[in-house]
Amino acid sequence: MGLSWMAWTWPTALFFIFIAAAISTMAVWEYYKPGGDPRRGVFALDTTRGDRLFITLLGSAFIFLAWLGLVGSSLWWPMIIAFIWGGFVFRYV
Protein backbone atom coordinates (compact mmCIF):
# COMPACT_ATOMS: atom_id res chain seq x y z
CA MET A 1 0.00 0.00 0.00
CA GLY A 2 1.45 3.37 -1.00
CA LEU A 3 1.04 6.69 0.73
CA SER A 4 -0.74 8.42 -2.16
CA TRP A 5 -3.99 8.52 -0.12
CA MET A 6 -2.23 10.88 2.29
CA ALA A 7 -1.79 13.34 -0.59
CA TRP A 8 1.71 14.46 0.44
CA THR A 9 3.19 17.66 -0.90
CA TRP A 10 6.67 19.05 -0.36
CA PRO A 11 5.54 22.14 1.58
CA THR A 12 3.48 20.06 4.04
CA ALA A 13 6.28 17.48 4.34
CA LEU A 14 8.72 20.31 5.16
CA PHE A 15 6.26 21.63 7.74
CA PHE A 16 6.17 18.27 9.53
CA ILE A 17 9.95 17.87 9.22
CA PHE A 18 10.28 21.28 10.92
CA ILE A 19 7.96 20.19 13.77
CA ALA A 20 9.82 16.88 14.18
CA ALA A 21 13.18 18.71 14.14
CA ALA A 22 11.94 21.16 16.80
CA ILE A 23 10.83 18.30 19.08
CA SER A 24 14.10 16.40 18.46
CA THR A 25 16.09 19.55 19.29
CA MET A 26 14.18 19.75 22.56
CA ALA A 27 15.13 16.13 23.34
CA VAL A 28 18.82 16.79 22.61
CA TRP A 29 18.71 20.03 24.60
CA GLU A 30 17.14 18.15 27.53
CA TYR A 31 19.81 15.44 27.30
CA TYR A 32 22.65 17.95 27.60
CA LYS A 33 20.85 20.29 30.02
CA PRO A 34 18.34 18.22 31.97
CA GLY A 35 15.56 19.61 34.14
CA GLY A 36 13.57 21.50 31.50
CA ASP A 37 14.82 24.91 32.68
CA PRO A 38 11.64 25.77 34.63
CA ARG A 39 10.91 29.41 35.40
CA ARG A 40 8.15 31.94 35.95
CA GLY A 41 8.01 34.45 33.14
CA VAL A 42 6.22 37.68 32.28
CA PHE A 43 2.75 36.10 32.11
CA ALA A 44 3.26 34.64 35.63
CA LEU A 45 3.18 31.14 34.15
CA ASP A 46 5.46 28.35 35.30
CA THR A 47 6.92 27.00 32.07
CA THR A 48 9.57 24.54 30.95
CA ARG A 49 11.33 24.56 27.56
CA GLY A 50 8.69 22.16 26.19
CA ASP A 51 5.89 24.46 27.35
CA ARG A 52 7.61 27.38 25.68
CA LEU A 53 7.86 25.47 22.39
CA PHE A 54 4.16 24.59 22.62
CA ILE A 55 3.21 28.23 23.33
CA THR A 56 5.42 29.37 20.45
CA LEU A 57 3.87 26.94 17.96
CA LEU A 58 0.29 27.53 19.08
CA GLY A 59 0.78 31.29 19.11
CA SER A 60 2.39 31.18 15.67
CA ALA A 61 -0.55 29.21 14.28
CA PHE A 62 -2.95 31.89 15.53
CA ILE A 63 -0.73 34.69 14.20
CA PHE A 64 -1.00 33.13 10.73
CA LEU A 65 -4.76 32.55 11.07
CA ALA A 66 -5.39 36.08 12.33
CA TRP A 67 -3.34 37.53 9.48
CA LEU A 68 -5.18 35.46 6.87
CA GLY A 69 -8.58 36.31 8.34
CA LEU A 70 -8.00 40.01 9.01
CA VAL A 71 -5.26 41.30 6.70
CA GLY A 72 -4.50 39.29 3.57
CA SER A 73 -2.80 36.37 1.92
CA SER A 74 0.86 37.46 2.08
CA LEU A 75 2.55 35.20 4.61
CA TRP A 76 5.90 37.00 4.99
CA TRP A 77 4.73 39.45 7.65
CA PRO A 78 3.04 36.85 9.86
CA MET A 79 6.17 34.70 9.52
CA ILE A 80 8.34 37.57 10.78
CA ILE A 81 5.87 38.22 13.62
CA ALA A 82 5.86 34.49 14.48
CA PHE A 83 9.67 34.44 14.73
CA ILE A 84 9.59 37.53 16.96
CA TRP A 85 6.88 35.83 19.06
CA GLY A 86 9.04 32.69 19.35
CA GLY A 87 12.05 34.74 20.47
CA PHE A 88 9.92 36.60 23.00
CA VAL A 89 8.44 33.38 24.42
CA PHE A 90 11.82 31.63 24.78
CA ARG A 91 13.39 34.72 26.32
CA TYR A 92 10.68 36.12 28.60
CA VAL A 93 7.74 33.67 29.09
Partner: protein, 287 residues
Protein backbone atom coordinates in the same frame (compact mmCIF):
# COMPACT_ATOMS: atom_id res chain seq x y z
CA UNK B 1 24.66 3.79 45.43
CA UNK B 2 24.57 3.72 41.65
CA UNK B 3 21.13 4.17 40.11
CA UNK B 4 20.22 1.51 37.55
CA UNK B 5 18.86 2.96 34.32
CA UNK B 6 16.63 0.49 32.53
CA UNK B 7 15.64 1.72 29.09
CA UNK B 8 13.44 -1.32 28.48
CA UNK B 9 10.52 0.66 29.90
CA UNK B 10 10.31 2.43 26.53
CA UNK B 11 9.07 -0.86 25.05
CA UNK B 12 5.97 -0.58 27.22
CA UNK B 13 5.24 2.86 25.77
CA UNK B 14 5.73 1.72 22.17
CA UNK B 15 2.23 0.19 21.63
CA UNK B 16 0.61 3.44 22.80
CA UNK B 17 2.84 5.46 20.46
CA UNK B 18 1.90 3.21 17.53
CA UNK B 19 -1.81 3.49 18.43
CA UNK B 20 -1.66 7.29 18.75
CA UNK B 21 0.25 7.49 15.45
CA UNK B 22 -2.43 5.54 13.62
CA UNK B 23 -5.53 7.09 15.17
CA UNK B 24 -4.34 10.68 15.60
CA UNK B 25 -1.05 11.74 14.03
CA UNK B 26 -1.39 10.14 10.59
CA UNK B 27 -5.01 11.32 10.11
CA UNK B 28 -3.97 14.80 11.26
CA UNK B 29 -1.10 14.84 8.76
CA UNK B 30 -3.53 13.79 6.03
CA UNK B 31 -5.91 16.60 6.96
CA UNK B 32 -3.02 19.10 6.77
CA UNK B 33 -2.16 17.74 3.31
CA UNK B 34 -5.80 18.01 2.14
CA UNK B 35 -6.09 21.56 3.48
CA UNK B 36 -3.70 22.97 0.87
CA UNK B 37 -5.02 21.01 -2.11
CA UNK B 38 -8.08 20.61 -4.30
CA UNK B 39 -9.49 17.24 -5.30
CA UNK B 40 -12.38 16.02 -7.40
CA UNK B 41 -12.02 12.45 -6.17
CA UNK B 42 -10.20 9.47 -7.64
CA UNK B 43 -7.21 10.27 -5.40
CA UNK B 44 -6.08 13.11 -7.70
CA UNK B 45 -4.99 16.31 -5.99
CA UNK B 46 -3.82 19.72 -7.18
CA UNK B 47 -2.05 22.41 -5.20
CA UNK B 48 -4.35 25.16 -3.88
CA UNK B 49 -2.09 26.93 -1.38
CA UNK B 50 -3.81 28.86 1.39
CA UNK B 51 -7.06 29.71 -0.38
CA UNK B 52 -9.16 27.31 1.71
CA UNK B 53 -7.90 28.89 4.91
CA UNK B 54 -8.73 32.37 3.58
CA UNK B 55 -12.15 31.14 2.49
CA UNK B 56 -12.91 29.59 5.87
CA UNK B 57 -11.56 32.46 7.96
CA UNK B 58 -13.53 35.10 6.05
CA UNK B 59 -16.71 33.04 5.73
CA UNK B 60 -19.83 34.30 7.53
CA UNK B 61 -21.07 30.74 7.68
CA UNK B 62 -17.99 29.59 9.61
CA UNK B 63 -18.18 32.57 11.99
CA UNK B 64 -21.84 31.82 12.69
CA UNK B 65 -21.19 28.12 13.34
CA UNK B 66 -18.24 28.94 15.60
CA UNK B 67 -20.38 31.46 17.50
CA UNK B 68 -23.15 28.90 18.01
CA UNK B 69 -20.59 26.31 19.10
CA UNK B 70 -19.02 28.65 21.67
CA UNK B 71 -22.47 29.64 22.95
CA UNK B 72 -23.49 25.99 23.31
CA UNK B 73 -20.26 24.95 25.05
CA UNK B 74 -20.14 27.81 27.56
CA UNK B 75 -23.87 27.50 28.32
CA UNK B 76 -23.70 23.80 29.11
CA UNK B 77 -20.51 24.29 31.16
CA UNK B 78 -22.20 27.08 33.14
CA UNK B 79 -25.10 24.74 33.93
CA UNK B 80 -23.49 21.30 34.24
CA UNK B 81 -20.53 22.14 36.48
CA UNK B 82 -22.43 23.92 39.31
CA UNK B 83 -25.36 21.49 39.01
CA UNK B 84 -23.01 18.50 39.12
CA UNK B 85 -21.29 19.84 42.25
CA UNK B 86 -24.65 20.53 43.96
CA UNK B 87 -25.91 17.00 43.22
CA UNK B 88 -22.60 15.47 44.37
CA UNK B 89 -22.84 17.43 47.64
CA UNK B 90 -26.40 16.21 48.15
CA UNK B 91 -25.55 12.54 47.55
CA UNK B 92 -25.14 10.24 50.58
CA UNK B 93 -21.59 9.21 51.55
CA UNK B 94 -22.52 6.06 53.49
CA UNK B 95 -25.17 3.35 53.42
CA UNK B 96 -27.22 1.49 50.86
CA UNK B 97 -28.28 4.64 48.97
CA UNK B 98 -24.73 5.27 47.81
CA UNK B 99 -24.88 2.39 45.31
CA UNK B 100 -28.40 3.33 44.21
CA UNK B 101 -27.38 6.94 43.56
CA UNK B 102 -24.19 5.95 41.74
CA UNK B 103 -26.04 3.53 39.45
CA UNK B 104 -28.74 6.12 38.72
CA UNK B 105 -26.09 8.73 37.96
CA UNK B 106 -24.16 6.39 35.69
CA UNK B 107 -27.21 5.38 33.63
CA UNK B 108 -27.42 8.36 31.25
CA UNK B 109 -23.72 7.92 30.47
CA UNK B 110 -24.31 4.34 29.32
CA UNK B 111 -26.83 5.29 26.64
CA UNK B 112 -25.37 5.62 23.12
CA UNK B 113 -25.32 9.17 21.82
CA UNK B 114 -27.61 8.59 18.85
CA UNK B 115 -30.14 6.90 21.15
CA UNK B 116 -30.08 9.94 23.45
CA UNK B 117 -30.83 12.16 20.44
CA UNK B 118 -33.67 9.84 19.35
CA UNK B 119 -35.14 9.64 22.88
CA UNK B 120 -35.20 13.43 23.21
CA UNK B 121 -36.53 13.89 19.70
CA UNK B 122 -39.54 11.70 20.45
CA UNK B 123 -39.88 13.03 24.02
CA UNK B 124 -40.01 16.65 22.83
CA UNK B 125 -42.20 16.30 19.72
CA UNK B 126 -44.94 18.93 20.04
CA UNK B 127 -47.94 16.70 19.38
CA UNK B 128 -47.04 13.19 20.51
CA UNK B 129 -44.00 13.64 22.75
CA UNK B 130 -44.53 13.72 26.50
CA UNK B 131 -42.62 16.98 27.03
CA UNK B 132 -43.99 18.73 23.94
CA UNK B 133 -47.54 17.68 24.67
CA UNK B 134 -47.28 18.73 28.32
CA UNK B 135 -45.84 22.17 27.52
CA UNK B 136 -48.42 22.85 24.82
CA UNK B 137 -51.16 21.61 27.15
CA UNK B 138 -49.98 24.20 29.70
CA UNK B 139 -50.47 26.91 27.08
CA UNK B 140 -46.77 27.33 26.25
CA UNK B 141 -46.22 27.57 22.51
CA UNK B 142 -43.45 24.99 22.19
CA UNK B 143 -42.25 23.46 18.94
CA UNK B 144 -38.55 22.63 18.68
CA UNK B 145 -38.85 21.70 15.01
CA UNK B 146 -39.98 25.23 14.04
CA UNK B 147 -38.80 27.68 16.71
CA UNK B 148 -35.04 28.25 17.15
CA UNK B 149 -35.40 29.23 20.83
CA UNK B 150 -37.23 25.99 21.60
CA UNK B 151 -34.67 23.97 19.62
CA UNK B 152 -31.85 25.52 21.67
CA UNK B 153 -33.64 24.95 24.98
CA UNK B 154 -34.23 21.29 24.07
CA UNK B 155 -30.65 20.84 22.89
CA UNK B 156 -29.22 22.26 26.12
CA UNK B 157 -31.68 20.28 28.28
CA UNK B 158 -30.66 17.09 26.46
CA UNK B 159 -26.95 17.71 27.00
CA UNK B 160 -27.48 18.60 30.66
CA UNK B 161 -29.52 15.42 31.15
CA UNK B 162 -26.90 13.29 29.41
CA UNK B 163 -23.66 14.69 30.80
CA UNK B 164 -24.23 16.29 34.22
CA UNK B 165 -23.77 12.78 35.67
CA UNK B 166 -20.14 12.80 34.58
CA UNK B 167 -19.48 15.96 36.61
CA UNK B 168 -21.45 14.47 39.52
CA UNK B 169 -19.40 11.25 39.54
CA UNK B 170 -16.08 13.08 39.33
CA UNK B 171 -17.05 15.63 41.98
CA UNK B 172 -18.34 12.82 44.20
CA UNK B 173 -15.02 10.98 43.84
CA UNK B 174 -13.28 14.17 44.99
CA UNK B 175 -15.65 14.58 47.93
CA UNK B 176 -15.35 11.03 49.29
CA UNK B 177 -11.56 11.28 49.21
CA UNK B 178 -11.61 14.09 51.83
CA UNK B 179 -10.51 12.64 55.20
CA UNK B 180 -13.05 12.86 58.04
CA UNK B 181 -10.48 14.76 60.14
CA UNK B 182 -11.00 17.89 58.00
CA UNK B 183 -14.71 17.93 58.82
CA UNK B 184 -14.01 17.31 62.50
CA UNK B 185 -11.57 20.22 62.60
CA UNK B 186 -14.12 22.45 60.84
CA UNK B 187 -16.79 21.42 63.36
CA UNK B 188 -14.49 22.28 66.29
CA UNK B 189 -13.86 25.70 64.72
CA UNK B 190 -17.60 26.21 64.28
CA UNK B 191 -17.32 26.58 60.49
CA UNK B 192 -20.53 27.20 58.54
CA UNK B 193 -21.66 24.92 55.68
CA UNK B 194 -20.52 27.57 53.22
CA UNK B 195 -17.07 27.82 54.87
CA UNK B 196 -16.70 24.01 54.76
CA UNK B 197 -17.58 24.06 51.07
CA UNK B 198 -15.39 27.05 50.23
CA UNK B 199 -12.27 26.10 52.20
CA UNK B 200 -12.37 22.28 52.38
CA UNK B 201 -14.58 20.68 49.73
CA UNK B 202 -13.99 22.99 46.80
CA UNK B 203 -10.15 23.00 47.06
CA UNK B 204 -10.17 19.21 47.42
CA UNK B 205 -12.41 18.86 44.35
CA UNK B 206 -10.31 21.19 42.24
CA UNK B 207 -8.31 18.52 40.43
CA UNK B 208 -11.31 16.39 39.53
CA UNK B 209 -13.28 19.48 38.53
CA UNK B 210 -10.41 20.52 36.26
CA UNK B 211 -10.67 17.13 34.56
CA UNK B 212 -14.49 17.39 34.44
CA UNK B 213 -14.40 20.86 32.88
CA UNK B 214 -11.76 19.87 30.33
CA UNK B 215 -13.61 16.68 29.38
CA UNK B 216 -16.95 18.46 29.09
CA UNK B 217 -15.38 21.33 27.18
CA UNK B 218 -13.70 19.07 24.62
CA UNK B 219 -16.69 16.74 24.32
CA UNK B 220 -19.21 19.53 23.92
CA UNK B 221 -17.01 21.36 21.44
CA UNK B 222 -16.85 18.17 19.36
CA UNK B 223 -20.51 17.23 19.80
CA UNK B 224 -22.18 15.93 16.65
CA UNK B 225 -24.48 12.93 17.01
CA UNK B 226 -26.98 14.17 19.61
CA UNK B 227 -27.83 17.57 18.01
CA UNK B 228 -27.80 15.98 14.56
CA UNK B 229 -30.37 13.36 15.58
CA UNK B 230 -32.42 15.86 17.62
CA UNK B 231 -32.65 18.85 15.28
CA UNK B 232 -30.47 18.04 12.25
CA UNK B 233 -28.98 21.54 12.69
CA UNK B 234 -32.37 23.24 12.27
CA UNK B 235 -34.74 24.91 12.18
CA UNK B 236 -32.87 26.59 9.31
CA UNK B 237 -29.29 26.70 10.52
CA UNK B 238 -30.11 27.80 14.05
CA UNK B 239 -28.57 24.77 15.78
CA UNK B 240 -25.92 23.98 13.17
CA UNK B 241 -22.88 23.60 15.36
CA UNK B 242 -19.34 23.53 14.00
CA UNK B 243 -19.16 19.74 13.71
CA UNK B 244 -22.48 19.52 11.85
CA UNK B 245 -21.35 22.26 9.47
CA UNK B 246 -18.04 20.49 8.96
CA UNK B 247 -19.74 17.23 8.03
CA UNK B 248 -22.01 19.11 5.62
CA UNK B 249 -18.95 20.61 3.88
CA UNK B 250 -16.88 17.41 3.89
CA UNK B 251 -19.48 14.76 3.09
CA UNK B 252 -22.52 16.69 1.86
CA UNK B 253 -20.64 18.95 -0.57
CA UNK B 254 -17.50 16.76 -0.82
CA UNK B 255 -15.34 19.90 -0.48
CA UNK B 256 -12.41 18.13 1.13
CA UNK B 257 -9.99 21.08 0.94
CA UNK B 258 -12.25 23.63 2.70
CA UNK B 259 -13.39 20.91 5.14
CA UNK B 260 -9.75 20.10 6.00
CA UNK B 261 -8.92 23.80 6.52
CA UNK B 262 -12.03 24.15 8.68
CA UNK B 263 -11.02 21.05 10.70
CA UNK B 264 -7.59 22.50 11.40
CA UNK B 265 -8.98 25.85 12.55
CA UNK B 266 -11.51 23.93 14.69
CA UNK B 267 -8.68 21.79 16.15
CA UNK B 268 -6.56 24.86 16.94
CA UNK B 269 -9.46 26.60 18.69
CA UNK B 270 -10.03 23.49 20.87
CA UNK B 271 -6.31 23.22 21.58
CA UNK B 272 -6.05 26.89 22.57
CA UNK B 273 -9.13 26.92 24.80
CA UNK B 274 -8.18 23.61 26.48
CA UNK B 275 -4.70 24.96 27.17
CA UNK B 276 -6.10 28.21 28.57
CA UNK B 277 -8.55 26.32 30.82
CA UNK B 278 -5.89 23.93 32.04
CA UNK B 279 -3.26 26.63 32.62
CA UNK B 280 -5.62 28.93 34.52
CA UNK B 281 -6.92 26.15 36.75
CA UNK B 282 -3.49 24.68 37.48
CA UNK B 283 -2.00 28.12 38.09
CA UNK B 284 -4.60 28.81 40.78
CA UNK B 285 -3.75 25.48 42.37
CA UNK B 286 -0.01 26.18 42.37
CA UNK B 287 -0.60 29.57 43.96
Amino acid sequence: MNKTVNQKAWLFVLPVLVLVAFNAIIPLMTVVNYSVQETFGNNVFSWAGIIWFEEVLTSQRFHASLGRQLFFTFTILAIEVPLGVIIALAMPRKGIWVSVCLVLMAMPLLIPWNVVGAIWNIFALPQIGMLGNLLNGMGIDYNFTRQPGDAWATLIAMDVWHWTSLVVLLAYAGLVSIPEAYYQAAKIDGASSWAIFRYIQLPKMKRVLTIAILLRFMDSFNIYTEPFVLTGGGPGNSTTLLSIDLVKVALGQFDLGPAAAMSLVYFLVILLLSWVFYTLMMRDEEQ
